[in-house]
Amino acid sequence: MIKNYLKVALKVLGRRKFFTFISLFGISVTLVVLMVATALLDQVFAPEAPEVHGDRTLGIYQVGLRSEQIAYTGFAGYGLLDRVLRNLTTEVPAVERTSILSVQSTAISYLDGKRVESWFKRTDGEFWRILDFQFLEGQPFSQDDEKNGHHVAVINASTRDRFFGGKPAVGKTIAIDGQTFRVVGVVKDVPVLRVVAFSDVWVPISTFKSSTYRKDYIGNFMAILLARSRADFPAIRSEVAARLKAAEAGIPNPEMYKWIFGGADTLLGAFSRVLFSTNSLADSHPERLLGVFLLLMMLFMILPTVNLVNINLSRILDRSSEIGVRKAFGASSWTLVGQFVVENVFLTLIGAGIGLILAAAVLSTLNASGAIPYSDLHLNGRVFLYGLGIALFFGLFSGVYPAWRMSKLHPVQALRGRQV
């Protein structure tokens, strides 16, 4: 039966080439846009190297400091994060590891008299144990290096190419931001969309030129906390919330700020907290962000779906005789709905196939263009499944209504060639 349906579907597609082109164009272009967007989101949020433990990692990505008169929302200072995380792993066994890291900033170097900009991040030693970088050479710096202020650095492969012509770099020195560091490791490039891990050069926090950062509550730091399991998230969140509350007593400039807002979030939760300005310590409402993503996707799909519904309705006009014949020979209304939905899903899957190929081409072009530094956008199984889901959404929603209209066609009128 399905074979018979598909034979008809193929013929109908071939018969009305312009409509078929418009349908496939609409489906595939929509899918390309959605799949590229999905691949981008996947690169930010999916637990992939080096953020392999992303599914059980929480972070204090941003905090708010407020008083009646003034409000700050942004990155935390090292002092605040250090106070909140101090002894956390020993006092809360659910927390396996914690790490403090700076937000990457650009740093200047001079190579043969030419100014070179690199992304520069300061981290502690635990950073390398929570994240799983692929080392091409050497090894990460340790917690001891951080504690003792050793001027060591891990660089990425592109920086090695720039500074050392691609030759082995471990043991050599690199001058950056007015300081000199000995290279101890070289890692594979990390895409810029991996906001926690990304940089060109990583050095210990303690190599800061001044130590004033140690007391600051406002700065350019964030922290990540590796839980033993996701089930521990609620307990960790409430502990972090309590510690942030307790840290209010130590605000360095109490004449300006009185209260601290923020919390331990998943990455999705952190974006949600920023977008929706959630002041609650406890919950960042990541579901709101998911809701927004879903709503945007639906809105984006409505237009081509409506278009497909119209095209499908007009395609049915051609087929009233066939509908009448099938009814006369024993097809019930529901059988006809099934037939038309199968045909439509078939059409959308062809569109999805074209969309997949186009999306792969767009992602490959994006990767090659360098528009997103070190991007490694690709169509993995997850993105493919999302694409398939989107295609099925198209197929079902754009097929069911026309199929229902078609199935309600009176057989006598259908045989006379009356229109739906």
Binding site: K3, N4, K11, K327, F329, G330, V412
Partner: protein, 221 residues
């Protein structure tokens, strides 16, 4: 086998009410071959559609094999049409996107049977109408007579007890019309298929067992 009792059919629009059939009583026995005649617009095709369960009477009763069908839902009607009835249309109504053999298979798609069984039955039906050599062709590659033979193969492939033919020779020249008529006569004589045929052609009507004449929706003979 077919029983119509005081069957009327009205078509209503906002302004006009048209009586297509008025108080028809008709019994067709098993193995009978009857023709329905009358001028255009007298209700012949409407009568055939009511017998074929493609339309419902405004009043009166239609029964097949002793069972009244007035309480049947869409699914039951579809099942009865599939198992008991076969249709032959003046315009052939073949699906132009499907090959000859795929067209003939259509009624069997709505039965539980394997692809192989379905194909075997379709080829046998095509053989029965003398079209074994055209199974892979498409309808547009065939002559009118050949298309109508495909339509007959499609109508008989499910071995229905009743064949309903709406002017099956109306679009054919006399030689092709005779060929089609001889196939129908053969089906009636050898397989005891009950046939109700609408026709304008007295020559064809003469070959049937009985003629039912309609005029302005009323049965006149």
């Amino acid at each position: 086998m077919i029983h119509l009792q005081e069957v009327s059919k009205l078509y209503r629009t906002d302004r006009v009410e048209t009586t297509a059939l008025d108080n028809i009583n008709l019994d067709v026995g098993k193995g009978e071959f009857i023709s329905v005649m009358g001028p255009s617009g007298c209700g012949k095709s409407t009568l055939l559609n009511l017998i074929g369960l493609l339309d419902e009477p405004t009043s009166g009763k239609v029964a097949l094999d002793g069972k009244a069908i007035d309480r049947y839902g869409d699914r039951d009607l579809a099942r009865v049409r599939n198992e008991r009835l076969g249709f032959i249309f003046q315009q052939f109504h073949l699906v132009s996107d499907l090959s000859v053999v795929d067209n003939v298979e259509i009624p069997l798609l709505y039965r539980k049977m394997s692809n192989k069984e379905r194909r075997r039955a379709a080829l046998a039906a095509l053989d029965r109408v003398g079209l074994s050599s055209r199974t892979r062709h498409f309808p547009t590659q065939l002559s009118g007579g050949q298309q109508q033979r495909v339509a007959i193969a499609r109508a008989i492939v499910g071995r229905p007890g009743i064949l309903l033919a709406d002017e099956p020779t109306g679009n054919l020249d006399s030689q092709m019309g005779d060929e089609i008529m001889s196939i129908l006569e053969d089906l009636n004589a050898n397989e005891k298929t009950t046939i109700v045929m609408v026709t304008h052609d007295p020559r064809m009507a003469e070959k049937t067992h009985r003629v039912v004449r309609l005029f302005d929706g009323r049965q006149v003979q």
